[in-house]
Amino acid sequence: MDLTRLEINRRTALLTSAAIAANVINPMRAFAQETPKKGGVFNVHYGAEQRQLNPSIQASTGVYIISGKIQESLVDLDADGKPVGVLAESWESSTDGKTIAFKLRKGVTWHDGKPFTSADVEFTAMNMWKKILNYGSTLQLFLTAVDTPDPQTAVFRYERPMPLNLLLRALPDLGYISAKHLYENGDIRQNPTNLAPVGTGPFKFVKYERGQYIIADRNPDYWRSNAPYLDRIVWKVITDRAAAAAQLEAGELQYCPFSSLTISDMARLGKDKRFVATTKGNEGNARTNTIEFNFRRKELSDIRVRRAIAHAIDVPFFIENFLGDFAKLGTGPIPSTSTDFYPGAGTPQYPYDKAKAAALLDEAGFKAGPGGARFSLKLLPAPWGEDISLWSTFIQQSLKDVGITVEIVRNDGGGFLKQVYDEHAFDLATGWHQYRNDPAVSTTVWYRSGQPKGAPWTNQWGWEDKQVDTTIDNALTELDAAKRKALYAEFVKEVNTELPVWMPIEQIFVTVISAKARNHSNTPRWGSSSWHDLWLSA
């Protein structure tokens, strides 16, 4: 299944056949002939407001979509998904992996005019990433100090070896820098700058009107000369998905990021020549749909029952009929978009086989009773997306066919996290696992035992496997890139065999954007990136 099919379909109608050939390889190349135009207002759909907007203390796309334009990270990813310097120009790791030195960009100033220096990096890393930032506190657990020999050098010192490729893949999301002079006094969490961000980025924060809009204007002193092109970005707070689609069609929005519209609207607008609907530019924001098993349930602690459940669900049918072009069959916790770590298709899989599922359940001693029923389970779907809701109903119906009665218990966000990750009041749970460029950042924590109770999106299944723990720990400090990849392949094989969590569907977020936008979707985390080269054609 071709994930970019919609985009290509749309273009085939517009371009000559000669251009199509180039387009299939790189859909953005078709625009290369045009001269970028300065000016214009770019209106962005903002579906869920955040409590604060500082990406140095909160790693989430809801924050990056705004402050990724205002604040900058040490590194970002280029079109090929390789780390490229932003506030850092170059980096170097010592042979033991315990010291990583960054050379910082010269002549960069904060929006309030103060110079950006290594002191800002030191302050942000030690006080924000290590102490407050979600995922950051795990990544920087063994960070002991950041030395600042001169204003353009920051040397990270680690207690245990830190693989350079792990750090560089984590930093695009977990490497945003905040200004020391604005945060050094008082409680960082309560600092008013969190809601009026000050950064070094191409756009300057102007105004945040809660419940309505956020505005940022062009930064005339931006260090990339001749950038940005846009005059202004406006994020409009629109909670209703249908209303957002209507505003897009009425020309009041130019961009609906991260699958913020309904599945049917995205498919419909993708066929409209005024818009582009594409998964391109979101490769770095891949997510997988999960089935999480609670091992405290006797039935589910039996590996045969977990495998039976995986076999009982016709995933390709579900994808084809409910998710369409926006999803594909998954093979486990590391999605195929991860060119650096995807282990290939050789790991244990559970294709649809109802007879095999029934046989496994029989073998586990859960024979079908009167009316074919074996036992019943409580399923908690996360409320984040339409697909999760559809998927939970599909699980319910599929399992009924093999004699497992499923009761779906719906909660809102807070309720779901509390019940699954704190109270463990679930048998099955289903939601999204978001992959963040390196398994050590986002993924292994779902499988590593010893996670504190109440920490969301961690191993709360009551499952423990010493061998998997060892593989995870070894990969975390392995400096050799090839060996790391092999360790993660080993990890995927182990967890696909044991199946504490099953991740059978891969999805990439869908962007719906005005056909006038240029230079969009040209990096794997484009929605979160700085948009310094984005422009609007007439």
Partner: protein
């Protein structure tokens, strides 16, 4: 003066009710699993248990539920609505920021529904069982039966997407900074579709009530007397019938002020208006108890105020009411 003492007594009687409502809402929200820190964690996309513990302490969630309730009520007695955990501002400030769109929307919708309900009701009753009556009654039934979110979306499709006459959402145009008169016009333009959407259901109700009560009053003896005196039909309707037929309409306004606040949640979401309804929804999802209780408090005050005004109107329309008070 008597009317004022009547209203004053009503006001005093509503204070215990207000407290009961607040305690009820507080306890009800305790049944929802998770608290504001869980909601915050959901938004952040992950975090560790130690952070959660710190945050619970910060928001005062580490003490027992009765203690939290006692704390809240104690602050409320001092007219302090507390601190909003989503917005990081005092609840009173957050609500004050969100109040204008909701009040504007409610006032506009109520006036629209009341005025056209009255006019169409009178027309229908004057032409009872003839074609204008059938037409108006059928339209009323359609308006009543249409879900407001659907109507809102259709209105956007027609007026914003196809005709491009009116904005599809938002409270005002942020593309250009406007002030004074032009800002008023701009906000009014943005409010047309939401007002229609929220108002049509109420219009249908008013229309039915007005038609029925006109028909009833038209058959009373004093109307026959007035006609017998030789007054023309218009004078009979405006001078004699309307005033008495208006009483049930005014009663409804008081009752519907509360309903309208509920209906505004949907309309505010569809039209992206930064009002109280959406704020209430948001605070439930985010488990921001203080803000939610603050909204309940302010809404209750609004309903009490509207009913107070209705009481005054009663006295104006029918002097017997204040005399009886």
């Amino acid at each position: 003066m008597r009317i004022l003492s009547l209203a004053g007594r009503r006001l005093a009687a509503s204070i215990p009710t207000l407290f009961l409502i607040l305690i009820g809402v507080f306890l009800l929200l305790q049944f929802a699993p998770g608290d504001t820190v869980d909601a915050l964690m959901a938004q952040m996309g992950g975090g560790d248990a130690a952070t959660a513990r710190d945050l619970r302490k910060f928001y005062g969630l580490d003490v027992s539920v009765p203690m939290q309730l006692a704390n809240y009520l104690w602050h409320l007695v001092q007219l302090d609505l507390g601190f909003s955990s989503i917005y990081g501002k005092p609840v009173a400030t957050v609500i004050l920021e969100r109040l204008p769109p909701t009040i504007l929307l409610m006032t506009a919708s109520l006036s629209f529904a009341f005025f056209f309900g009255l006019v169409f009701g009178v027309i229908a009753s004057r032409a009872v069982n003839k074609w204008p009556d059938t037409l108006i009654s059928t339209l009323g039934l359609i308006f009543y039966a249409t879900p407001s979110f659907w109507f809102g979306l259709m209105a956007i499709v027609v007026f914003s997407i196809y005709l491009q006459w009116l904005p599809a959402g938002g409270f005002e145009d942020i593309g250009q900074v406007q002030s004074g008169f032009w800002r008023v016009i701009d906000i009014a333009r943005h409010l047309i579709l939401p007002t229609l959407t929220l108002g049509l259901i109420f219009l249908a109700i008013y229309l039915r009530i007005m038609r029925a009560s006109m028909l009833e009053v038209l058959n009373l003896d004093y109307v026959r007397t007035a006609r017998a005196k030789g007054l023309d039909e218009t004078r009979v309707v405006t001078g004699h019938v309307l005033r008495n037929a208006l009483l049930p309409m005014v009663t409804l306004i008081g009752l519907q002020a509360g309903t309208m606040l509920g209906g505004s949640v949907v309309v505010e979401s569809v039209f992206s208006l930064p009002g109280l309804g959406r704020l209430a929804y948001e605070s439930v999802v985010q488990r921001d108890l203080n803000t939610l209780l603050g909204i309940v408090f302010v809404s209750a005050l609004l309903v009490i105020t509207v009913n107070f005004v209705v009481d005054l109107l009663y006295a104006r329309l029918d002097p017997r009411i204040s005399a009886e008070g």
